[in-house]
Symmetry: C2
Amino acid sequence: MNDEQKLDRIDRKILSILQSNARISNQQLSEEVGLSPSSCLKRTRRLEDAGLLGPYLASINLDSLCRSVTVLATVVLKDHTKEAFIAFQKHANSIPEVLECYMVSGSFDFFLRIVAADMNSYNHINDRLLDSDVGVLKVSSHVVLNQSKSFEGFPLERLL
Amino acid sequence: MNDEQKLDRIDRKILSILQSNARISNQQLSEEVGLSPSSCLKRTRRLEDAGLLGPYLASINLDSLCRSVTVLATVVLKDHTKEAFIAFQKHANSIPEVLECYMVSGSFDFFLRIVAADMNSYNHINDRLLDSDVGVLKVSSHVVLNQSKSFEGFPLERLL
DNA sequence: CTTGAAAAATTTAAGAA
DNA sequence: TTCTTAAATTTTTCAAG
């Protein structure tokens, strides 16, 4: 079933390049990794089929498009049972404005990244997170004033 | 200089589609938004040139590629001067494993998302963040146990 | 696993509306 | 701004090494 861990230097290079330039043509990609276009394409497809690569996302400059409020929220649950964790995740994930949901160790149970049209809108989301049946003890909201570094891919050279 | 705010329904649709499917062909994109391929391409280029669209990123399944540790860290600075904030951001941004850096209001000054090969590696990064000349009072590290929702684009229909 | 060539499809620029 | 047309480029397949 599991045919992974066959990543050679070229596969890594493909992943690394596509990570930050997903619209590169296969032809140019093949040049940069030193393969023929057809071989390169085959490798890319294999990586995709193995679930290692994709989906492909376009970044958009939200601030230039519209006003919005980004909030990073820490969440503590009342009960630390498996069921409580699952129930909260399901609820949080169902809210479109919740962009990311991390379960963490330490003094909080979850970190959420939330984007809303304005503070009033965020308030509604905050209320939903505190709905009685979700088991939330506390939500601390931290409004983002400034983002000095945005995600642009993992540092594979440090990780692989 | 500034020729924005001319986004019509079609521009929004283009942004919305590309956000979650950056490798769609221009031909298919044009069908979905109801334009000819050339008109559609022209709009996409205009959005790119206006800085509203791009770069294009490929997601990769890091967990399937290798073991790694993701940590969400909250940071409090010693001094809350403008210079101190700038100095810290510059330092944090220079660390490849720091994927994102948010300046926030509330009980913390910054949130960082950090990915490291292992705990030992994270320790080094933590040490660097605490370097005496950076002005950090406290770093609280929260190891990610589980990510139940990953970023897949902004909910434009809620924001625009 | 690779190459290289051919066929299919797409991108892109130019001209007309 | 849009579309149509046509050329240039790219993707994709496939036979062969």
